[in-house]
Structures are given as C-alpha cells and as structure tokens.
C-alpha cells in the first residue's frame, strides 16, 4: 500500500514546460509515474516528453481528467494561483515544489484545501516517492539512481529536510530495510501535511511497520508527534533524529511567539518530549539505520 501515491495515481504537472518542470517530468515518467497531462498557460497544444500540455487545469481535466494529484513547478509568486486553480478543478493532492512561497499565500492555500477537503505537501519540498511505484516531485534526481537508492519495504520515512529525506532512505536501503513511502514534508514554517499528519497516515497504512523521522528545531511538529503517541493515536515504533543541536538560536525579538509556543521549538524540548513518549531518538544521524534495524528484528 504505502501512503498518498502509487503507480495508478493519475498525475498532472503544472509548469511542465519550464526548466525544472521538464527535467522532473522526465524523472517521474522514467520511474513509472502515471503522468497524464501538463499545464502551462499560453503553451497549450505543445507536448513535453509525449505528455500533452494545456492552457488551464480545467481544460486539461475535461480532456484527460480526472487527476488524483498535481505537482506544481511554477515560480514561487505564482504558486498560490496554480494551487487554487488545481483545487477548484477538483484535484485532492497537491505537491508544491518551489521554495520562497510567501507565508500568507500558503495560509490561503490551507483554507482552500480545507474547504475542498484536499491535502497538499510543501511548499519547499522535494516531494514524495513510493519505491518501485511512483515519484511526485524530484526525489532521487534520476530514475536510475532512484531505483538504486530506494527499495520497497516497511519503513515509512518523513523528514523536514530534503537532502536528508533521501539520505535516511538510502542508508536504510544499505542496511537492507526498504521503504513504504518516502516523504519530504517541506522546510517552511507552515506546510500542508506536517510530520504529525504524515505519521498518522503511516499509522493507518498496512505496509508501514516502522517510521523514521528527521525533525529540526523550530515549529511544534515534533512535540505534536509526541502528543499523538501519548493520546494513543500512533502506536508504531518511531526512530527519530533532531537536527540543529549546535545551531545558535536567534536573539528574541517577540514575546508573542513565546506566549504561544512556551518553550516548545528548541532542540532540548523536542528530544525530551519525544523520548518521554517512547520515540527512539538517536544522537547521531548515522545511527538511524542501525536503530531501525534493531527494532525491525523485534517486530518479527
């Protein structure tokens, strides 16, 4: 099974004719992703790697729809429009690749997605990958390396850092542990599916037996994962590493954040909360595969 995507997922690519859109469409197609259509306003009628291009999502939907997911590669200031266009047409899963999307644009996408009962990953994400099935985004770079680095299996991987998403998965593969789904949730403070939401999806997924998570300082995502476990909503074992121990925290400028977050957000807070909840937090990143392997031995 895995979460969110498989080889049948019907995929639209918005911004398909741009530099990134083209390159990543090649990667996704070569890997076996079911790319059905592309959209670039003004470029309707063209083809990219055999994929028909339309001027609007509505038109693409009429000709080639329905779509289960749309991967968006347009420049950051245009992401909001592209996302709303896809949501309005009826797409239920968006992957917003670009970084530097203004936060109020993201908040607006959040509200529209709530209204249309849709989900989105990102912004500022490498996307997600179901080993052997499909890629939404750019994880792996080339289909050939993606096939080498990632293998099907039972570890659900989620991370707030793009490069680390691939790194964890690759080192797990080296250790003989395959992955159910690999997802980079995105590096921004407000994102569509955050770590706790992804982990709940992994909890419901039959293929996933074990979860590997890379967290970072800032935001309350890791603390909320701990809350989910304490409430009994997540029971699968989690191996985690939190980045940013050495990072110097900025001089405080605002009380408002402190009133809301309290002491959450710091490295110490995250590690402590997660450990209390029973998460296996490792001290060195390279210990993740080892720890995951150890836990997997007890699963059988």
């Amino acid at each position: 099974m895995g979460i969110l995507v498989n080889e049948k997922t019907r995929v639209l690519v918005q911004g398909i004719t741009g530099r990134e859109g083209r390159t990543r469409t090649k990667l996704m197609k070569d890997y076996g992703t079911n790319i059905v259509a592309g959209v670039t306003p003004g470029r309707g009628g063209e083809e990219v790697l055999g994929v028909p291009v339309f001027d609007t999502v509505e038109e693409a939907w009429e000709e080639k729809g329905p779509f289960d997911a749309s991967v968006i590669f347009v420049p950051a200031p245009l992401v909001k429009d592209a996302a709303l266009e896809a949501l309005e047409a009826g797409v239920k899963l968006l992957v917003l690749i670009p970084d530097r999307v203004p936060i109020y644009d993201v908040l607006e996408i959040v509200e529209y997605a709530r209204q249309t009962n849709a989900k989105f990953v990102g912004p500022n994400t490498l996307g997600l990958l179901a080993p052997g099935k499909a890629i939404l985004g750019m994880i792996g770079g080339r289909a050939e390396t993606a096939r080498q680095w990632f293998r099907p299996g039972f570890v659900g991987v989620c991370s707030r850092s793009g490069g680390i998403t691939s790194a964890i998965s690759y080192y797990l593969t080296q250790k003989g542990l395959g992955q159910s789904t690999i997802i980079h949730v995105g590096g921004d403070p407000v994102i569509g599916l955050s770590l706790p939401e992804v982990i709940k999806l992994f909890e419901e997924d039959e293929q996933t037996k074990l979860i590997a998570m890379f967290g970072e300082i800032g935001t309350t995502q890791e603390e909320r994962v701990a809350e989910l476990i304490e409430k009994g909503e997540v029971t699968k074992p989690i191996v985690a590493f939190i980045g940013g121990k050495a990072a110097k925290s900025g001089t405080r400028f605002s009380h408002a954040g402190a009133i809301i977050e309290g002491l959450r957000g710091s490295y110490e807070s995250k590690v402590k909360r997660l450990r209390e909840a029973g998460v296996h937090v490792v001290d060195s990143f390279m210990d993740i595969p080892e720890k995951a392997f150890e836990i997997s031995q007890n699963l059988k």
Binding site: Y104, L107, Q174, V190, F214, F253, H255, A256, I259
Partner: protein, 519 residues
C-alpha cells in the same frame, strides 16, 4: 526573518490610522536635542535595536528638557547590545499612562492560521503574566478567507474583562493591527505596551514587526537590505553575498558570518553546506573535531556552478581560516558535478593553499569527485572529494588530519585583479556573467570538446570555432546555465581560449580594504 525597527513599525501603524507617540528617529545627540525641542514636552529616548528587554539593558531613558536629552543620548549612542551597535535613537513624547495592554499577532504552525493575542495587562514581564494569569490573555484564530471582524475582536477582548467604550476603542485598534499584518506580510507583529492615556486615547507605545522573508519582494518601500534571519545588522561581506542571492533565482545561497575577524590561532575554517538538514549535520561534525566556523554557508536547491563558485570566492574572502569544509546531506538529488565545477574555478583562481574536504554525495557523485581530483591536484592546498558512503564525521576527521599533518597554512586574502575583456574575443552574455572565446586560439584545438561538454547545446561549431547555436537573448535569459563545463575543459585540455567572467559586486573593494588593514 526581516525585522523592522521600532520607528519603522510605528510609521506603518501611523499610516493605518493607529496613534503613536509624537516624535522621530535621530542619529546624533544634536538631532536628539532638535527633536526634543520640537516636541516641547518631557521625552523618552529609545535605542533602536532588534531585541526585547531594552529597559533592563539601560537602553531607555527619560528626559525633562532637550539639553538633558542630548546628554543622555551620548551614553546611548555607540552602546553595544548583543553584537548590535546603537546608531539610531527614537525620540518621542513621554505618554501620560493610565493603563497598559498587550496586543500581537503570530502565525501558528500547528493550526496553520494567524493568531491574534490580546492581554488586559501589558508592559515588561508579559511572558510571566501569561504564565501566571492565563485568564487575562485571550486568543483568536483567524480564517484568512473570512478575515477578522470587529465583532470577533470585541468578543476576544471581552473575555479579558474589558467593557464599554474602552472595549470599542481596543477592538477597532486590533482589527487595524490585523489588517496591517496582512498588508505587510507580517510573520509577527506585537504592540507592547498598548497604552490607554489619561485623556482616554489608545496609543501604540512600542511595536515590533517581522516581515516574511519570502514576501519582502512585495514591499520595496520598506527598504529591507537582507531578507534573512539576522539579530544584528549585516556585515559588509554578508551584503555582498546577499546581492549574489538576490540577482540569481536558481537555487539558494545563504551566507552568515560567525566572526568578522577570525583569530589565526583560533582553529577557524570556512564552512560550505548544502541543504539545511545536511548543513546542520555537517556543522556538528566539524565542531566535534575541535574546529570553529568563521561562517555558515548553504548553497542548495540545485544551484548553478556559477553560484557555488561565487559562494566559494566569498568564503575565501575571510582571512586566517585554516581549512575549507563543504558537505551536505550526502544523498543529494541535484547533479553534483555542477557544484564540483564551481569549486574548481574558485579554488584555481584563489590558488587555494589551505586543505579542503568536499563531500558531494548524491546524483552523479562519481563524476563530481573525478572533476575535483582531476583539476585540483596541482594547487598548493590538498583537496579531497567524498561521496554518499563517507559520513560527515569521517570527512571532518579527514580535514583534521590534513590540517594537522601538513605544515599549518593560514589563509591569506588575495587581491582581485581588475578584469580586462580579452581583445577581439567572441563573447556572449549569460544570466549573471559573460563568456569570452578567443577564436584565434581555436585553430590549434584538436578535440573541439567545448561543444560536446555543453550538455545544454548552447554552443555549435562554425568553421571549426565554437559559437552560439541559439538566440543570444534566450542564452542571456538562462539557456546557458553557467555550468562552466566549456571553460574548464578548454582551460585544462585545450588552448585556454574560453574564459567565463562572473563578477561579484563589491568583492574587489572589500578585499582591498582587508589587505590595507593587514598592512
């Protein structure tokens, strides 16, 4: 995050019809005197720095008379607050305070909504009050599509026990504050204290506003120099680096200095990460080996070779470092040979003499490492390239060994020579630079390898000489990705006919000043 000074934030409040104390900002004691005279009332002097708790630090003073204000300001100018030298002082009328409140807006990552906060008590110690008397604090999540209505503001404030006319005044203020936040893409905004004066008016006595970095482009009027998380004004070198970032949308380049003058005995290295998570991990690894970082740098998101080149040149504009460490996540999706070529061009130009460890794991890492090994073997400093199966700890240990085994070399800043365009060369512009090809030399070229190396097909042969294969305007807009492959091939394998000029605005002068200081 892009922070505004108090005086800037207050100008925005004023434009929204929110009352702020009469006054303005001063840069010298005489100016302080002038403003105090104009105000013709007792004044308050407030240092303009990006931190809370200024009163405790002695950064806020009261004066009855203009002369007193001038004298007091002499102590404030030049004060050092957490790396921050005081250069501006806000001079304002002293308010006749009846009561203080707190109002703010933040973006809550868990609810994914803006959150308005109001407290019926304000002033210093607000965080303690929030902990001890939660009933005085009221919060409201905003649905961005619906906005924030005055009745919602009234309901919010009512819950802290405020009634009547005061309730109306405060709720109208709060709605304006929200509108300002949305208009200026505020990551957070805070008014503390919000003041009720003895004649019944509501004043914003202080204000901190942080603009979303990613939305700074929508607000050129704010004059934000660097849209980055800084707790002090940017250094000269950081400003130079930020220009590079601003002019080139491909990938990201973040540069931050831990110190402007690394101690030659301090074990400082130049640090060059790739990707936030990988950079942090790599930073931990070198710190654990006893190194200190002169800077933090991150080039990621598939940057072109030219950006990595410029980042390396900027890192190497820091004197006294004893090593160079580059390392990212280790399993990058981007094609790693682009970064490798950026390092090659920079290290060759700099005649790098300190050891460097470059970990370029990921897509096409074999080719990336081969590029480093082939082209950097003859420079004075030893350069080692590593890939995804070499951990950051291992690589940091390699750097330690290289530094300790060799004769200890301390990096010296080289001057940048004035660039002279080669005469009679064929040339074309790229997004951030210019390519020169001296066709006279191409006659002796046997391989014509530059055309083959250009995987984007920008070059073709015309009568045995490389020329553009497409419209020059398209090339300038980005079809030439500045991958540097043609130049490196030509420089090492053929006639040294190709040179790519990639200027870095201000770096030449910056280095000249450093060198002058050294002498």
């Amino acid at each position: 995050m892009a922070r505004l000074y108090e005086y800037q934030s207050k100008e925005l409040l004023r434009s929204k019809g929110i009352k702020v104390p009469h006054g303005r900002v001063a840069s010298s004691p005489d100016e302080v005197y002038q403003i105090a005279k104009e105000i013709a009332k007792p004044v308050v002097l407030k240092i303009q720095v990006w931190t809370t708790g200024r009163a405790t630090l002695g950064g806020i003073k009261f004066a009855e008379k203009p002369e007193e204000a001038r004298e007091l300001s002499k102590e404030l100018f030049g004060m050092e607050v957490k790396n921050f030298k005081v250069e501006k002082i806000l001079v304002e009328e002293k308010l006749d305070i009846e009561r203080e409140f707190f109002a703010g807006l933040v973006i809550d990552d868990s609810r994914k909504s803006p959150l308005v906060i109001f407290s019926s008590v304000g002033g210093s110690g607000i965080e303690e009050i929030a902990r001890e008397h939660p009933s005085r604090i009221s919060k409201h999540y905003i649905n961005l599509l619906k906005g924030f209505k005055t009745y919602e503001a009234r309901n919010l404030i009512r819950k802290t026990g405020i009634k009547g006319k005061l309730l109306l005044k405060l709720s109208s203020f709060l709605v304006k504050l929200y509108e300002l936040a949305v208009e200026y893409d505020a990551r957070s905004i805070e008014v503390n204290p919000l003041v009720l004066t003895s004649d019944g008016e509501i004043f914003a006595a202080d204000c901190h506003l942080v603009v979303d970095d990613y939305a700074v482009f929508r607000h050129p009027e704010l004059g934000i120099e660097i849209a980055r998380e800084f707790d002090r004004p940017a250094t000269e070198l950081e400003k130079i680096a930020y220009q590079v970032e601003e002019k080139d949308y491909r990938g990201t380049f973040y540069f931050f200095q831990m110190t402007e003058s690394p101690d030659p005995e301090g074990n400082y290295i130049g640090f060059h990460g790739a990707g936030g998570g990988g950079s942090m991990m790599s930073m931990d690894a070198v710190l654990n080996k006893g190194f200190r970082l002169a800077n933090y740098c991150d080039t990621s998101g598939n940057p072109p070779a030219s950006k990595v080149y410029r980042a390396a040149k900027i890192i190497l504009s820091q004197p006294n470092i004893i090593g160079y460490f580059a390392s990212g996540s280790g399993v990058a999706s981007q094609e790693q040979f682009h970064s490798a070529r950026g390092f090659v061009k920079a290290f060759i130009e700099e005649k790098l003499s300190i050891p460097a460890v470059i970990r370029l794991g990921g897509n096409y890492e074999e080719k990336a490492i081969e590029i480093l090994n082939t082209y950097l073997k003859n420079i004075p400093g030893k350069v080692e390239g590593y890939g995804r199966d070499d951990s950051p700890d291992f690589c940091a240990e390699r750097l330690r060994k290289l530094v300790e085994e060799g004769e200890r070399v301390i990096h010296k800043i080289n001057p940048i020579e004035e660039f002279k365009e080669p005469e009679n060369a064929y040339s074309f512009e790229t997004l951030t630079g210019k390519v020169f090809i001296e066709h006279e030399r191409c006659g002796k070229c046997k391989t014509k390898g530059c055309v083959e190396e250009c995987i984007y097909g920008v070059l073709k042969l015309d009568d045995g000489k490389p020329v553009l294969s497409m419209d020059a305007e398209e090339v300038r807009k980005g079809r030439c990705t500045e991958c540097l492959a043609c130049e490196i091939f030509c420089q090492f394998h053929e006639q040294k006919a190709i040179y790519i000029y990639l200027p870095i605005l201000g770096l030449k002068e910056y280095r000249e000043n450093l060198i002058k200081g050294r002498e």
